[in-house]
Symmetry: D2
Subunit: 348 residues, 4 copies
């Protein structure tokens, strides 16, 4: 007796941008996300798309427009440079493709609003890459909050420490807020469901690469966010952790506390004449391998089911509004009220 069930149709995906995170996403899509079929990779740099797409059995393209025009692409994963995000989201939506865009979805609220409006108009799912929500520990933290185990959040914390600043000259201004702390901001907003941020205070400095401070490079920052339910949150980031990639969260409330995030690479603990030791993870790709897989699986599920994904453009807008308030606070030295109001209606 032989039975064959073809299974559901795959979600055919094109990846735009073959950089570090694009490489990781393309590989996970091809190898770890069963509903996904990696169809094409586009990158203007000669060789980059070929090197990534080839071994994965996908087409390599140099022009993103070609990818967006392809009939055999149902959905695009945008991992291009940050400045290009908003235009690519708009173009992909216009082409009728479902859109996954790495954070931030744009550098200004207007940019993000364009993406929201375009994907709304096209009626396609629009997911933004806040991968931490898919990490087992962070997801369990949110579940504990939802279950009332923490009570009303009162003190919150989110930390991001990158293992190193590879090339200070390549870092655009305000990256620490727009690309790094935007993760922490989203995490804090998400772990305090139903609450609105009402005030933001931020300080930032160039402590890792002080020589580049003149170029606008700030590599270390601390943020305080007050919420309308009373919760006070801190977020902090550094571009240079000697010991690896360190992401942690904490929610303290009226009924208890949850903490999440562990830099240990495995369960191995080693003891010798110098004491007790454990290896630590060195990259987001290592720390968040399962979380990246889960967020891409969620994207495929949303595409298949024709529904809004778990992380939307509105979430991206909200986090960006807080990140922009941080920048304003650093500029003025004063607390700032973030513009997290509802997304303006898209003109039709």
């Amino acid at each position: 007796m032989v039975v064959r069930d073809a299974g559901a149709e795959p979600v055919r995906i094109g990846v735009v941008g073959a950089g570090r995170i694009g490489t990781s996403h393309a590989r996970l899509l091809a190898e770890r996300v069963p509903p996904a079929e990696l169809v094409a990779v586009a990158d203007p740099r000669p060789g980059a798309a070929v090197a990534l797409a080839g071994p994965l059995g996908a087409r390599a393209l140099t022009d993103p427009a070609q990818l967006l025009a392809a009939d055999d692409v149902d959905a695009v994963v945008i991992t291009a440079s940050t400045e290009a995000h908003a235009d690519l989201v708009e173009a992909a939506a216009a082409a009728g493709k479902a859109v996954f865009c790495e954070k931030p979805a744009g550098l200004s609220l207007a940019d993000v609003d364009r993406g929201i409006a375009a994907t709304d108009r096209a009626g396609v799912p629009f997911q933004v890459g806040f991968n931490r929500r898919f990490d087992r520990g962070f997801a369990a933290a949110r579940a504990a909050v939802d279950a009332g185990l923490v009570g009303t959040p009162q003190l919150m914390r989110s930390v991001t420490r990158d293992p190193g600043l590879a090339n200070p000259t390549a870092v655009p201004p305000w990256t620490v807020f727009r690309l790094t702390l935007i993760h922490d901001v989203d995490t804090l907003l998400w772990l305090n469901p139903g609450a609105e941020p009402v005030s933001v205070y931020a300080v930032a400095d160039a402590l890792v690469a002080p020589d580049f401070k003149d170029t606008g490079l700030l590599d270390t920052a601390v943020v305080v966010i007050r919420f309308d339910n009373g919760a006070i949150a801190t977020a902090e980031a550094s571009f240079s952790a000697a010991y690896g990639y360190d992401v942690r969260g904490e929610v303290f409330g009226s009924a208890g506390m949850v903490t999440t995030g562990d830099a240990a690479r495995s369960s191995l603990v080693r003891y010798d004449a110098a004491g007790r030791h454990a290896d630590t993870v060195r990259s987001d790709v290592e720390l968040f391998a399962d979380a990246y897989t889960a967020e891409l699986a969620e994207f495929c599920a949303a595409v298949r089911e024709g529904r809004a994904p778990a992380v939307t453009g509105h979430d991206a807008r909200r986090a960006l509004a807080v990140a922009l308030a941080c920048i304003e606070s650093v500029r003025t030295g004063l607390p700032v009220a973030p513009a997290t109001g509802p997304t303006p209606a898209a003109p039709r």
Copy 2:
């Protein structure tokens, strides 16, 4: 510009046995092990193969012989009942298929020797399912031993505690040694490379399900193994851990110690009026998801490269010899020398 690279040919795999571990392996092969293509699942129970194969896009068969005869099957993964292992290994090898067999590879040394001889004759890779070697923590433990960070092993420990004994009537005699502690035995042999076990002492009892002791069911056991390099190892197993699935290892030597194994489900730690809490894992499939994936990837790599896999029939034979010595020790109440000598030459 469009470039396509077909990639290497997939390893076409048939799974024999659609039980708990067969289900896990089939899914991992289909969804998480890129070089693998799950082609067929065979299980004599009506419906079991269909239910597993269908959603994964594979053929469902009721007769393993059909699967072994299939031209589009390069390799088989044997997850049938333990008694059938040896015959299936032999038959699969005779059919020219590469063989992955769940542990134990047989219930007697003669059984395992048959499998070794058959796969040797056929010149096909033969891997046995000692998955713990592929766990990140255990692999790091072995790496530390190899790097000399532990020195010469002196005291070793391996623990397996299952979360519950589902059906005491279905447990064959000596399961605690042949199916459970054989994992610990392999781990201990593997973490003490180059050393030979010279003496085994074991005790076992029916503490979880005492009513079934008459049927030969032993659910709790402790083993002491002495090695020719002086190391003294203990292994222990229980079929009923209230808190979940607990596998740990420890190697203490002249230069230090490594410990591995952590029952925590994620990095989340929760605090409330009753103290500090963490959830624990509840199944091997949860604890060893990555390890199972890695062992199946290793099998595919060995098949592609036409080489012996990282865990061989000889490893299976050695671990079984120690497990059988444990059984003899329980029977006699005395220490026993295990028959871990070289595999007898296969008659041609």
Copy 3:
């Protein structure tokens, strides 16, 4: 052969204030600090001094002045109510007694300056109760900083969470800064040796006991301190941790990080059907028993050796200056520069 060595003369101590912390200090002095001899306890409340002093073999007094006038008292430990600290320090110094004063050493810089001036004039040691410096974990953190293992501090954190707010009506305004966060401030200043705080931003709210907000009770607060060496520190406090008494510290720098503080009551970890559990400490007296003992031993040593203790009035002044800047920041909603300059010369 019999030999007797009388040992060094004991330091004869009187404790002023038989409240919670006075009780703890008196007992530790009598039972755990060998050089100390508890001679007297003074407390105006009928019965309080008797109940404490009696079982410890000390005199009970109702008038602190009597204690200060006693010839057999070498040194006083001031654990009276906060408002009385400054006057008591001054009076004790005037009486020629060495002075240990619980934090804060006064409610205004002028108060603390009076104490510094008086003890300077009298030439007696003056120690302030920043006990965390004597905790094994915090002391090891400072040692790691001193050894260069952290590099230049860049991001710092100190947390204090009390297990519960016994009586909201009894909490004077700004207690969260003047009595609680002053510990964290001292810790942060001490863990960043040689650096000066240049800016303070603080927010505070009544989240635990909102009904008492009108009375000025703030029970939850977050502080951001910027230092002249670039380090950015956060401190946070809550008056109501459901899980116990939680004090932690973290110093992240160019070479690595140290964290300290663990709420676990012992090394016991318990596992059951609900997962993994550990009991947590419930009071400062439990968490800091050894630290309190060590700080009192340091005081006795300083008295015996006629030298300045490890924590001085100048440290108290500096921490208070930052705490007062926090209050000013909450009042104005703006960052504030703390007045941590050198103590003004005392008029003679």
Copy 4:
């Protein structure tokens, strides 16, 4: 108003034996155990008693008999060499002194029986130095067992690893069982209340100092103990842990598990380019400072209250019986039934 309460009369103690543990006990008695008054220290080695007693304000004696004859000594703490224990216990009891004796209370059951008989006859308290029972973690383990949180014990473990073998020539034969593992044996018996050991199997080797094997020095050992309630326990010891002093316990039962013992020196965790690190404790005196203090406090309380202490000569006899069975098992290579029956009636 002045009130003085003289407090209870102190327990006047003489310490016999100014070696490592005698030094520790004498200091704790003088400095950390309030009811104790250290009156005298006796040690035949010239200078040893003086060096210890002098700074503590006690008499130094060279003849233990002098100490036992002293009218101002209520109780003796015996920390002499092991061979002298039994005679000293007998002599002290005959002199009417309460007796605390370091483990083992004797090298043979007859020795221990002599001590039990003598202290019974004299009607004086007799405590033996199983300090681990007073460790916070181990005590919490026993409390959890008593509270039913573990259920019926099924698998147990106790580990002792010493940081180093200072002088192999000075180690009497079977020390690993009689002085080291006797701690683990007592712990296991105590953590399985009401159960009797029925079978002991032990292996031992000279792995740390193999050159001394001929002298009878065994430095590494593993023990398996079966109890009449089904529990199977392992104990292991090594005389040379590179990383410090490591004592751990584990009780796994039908309802859950407890683990205890942590080698970390403080709550400090350090991170650098090589990963995560913690310092480990290096001696029993460091690890068990509080436990030693608590056991001596218990002794004083028993003396004051004229009652049997928490750890008695009968406990010492039971643990020794198991340790002697271990030695017999190593000699014969076979499992041995320990002679833990009731202490024979003392002849009058």
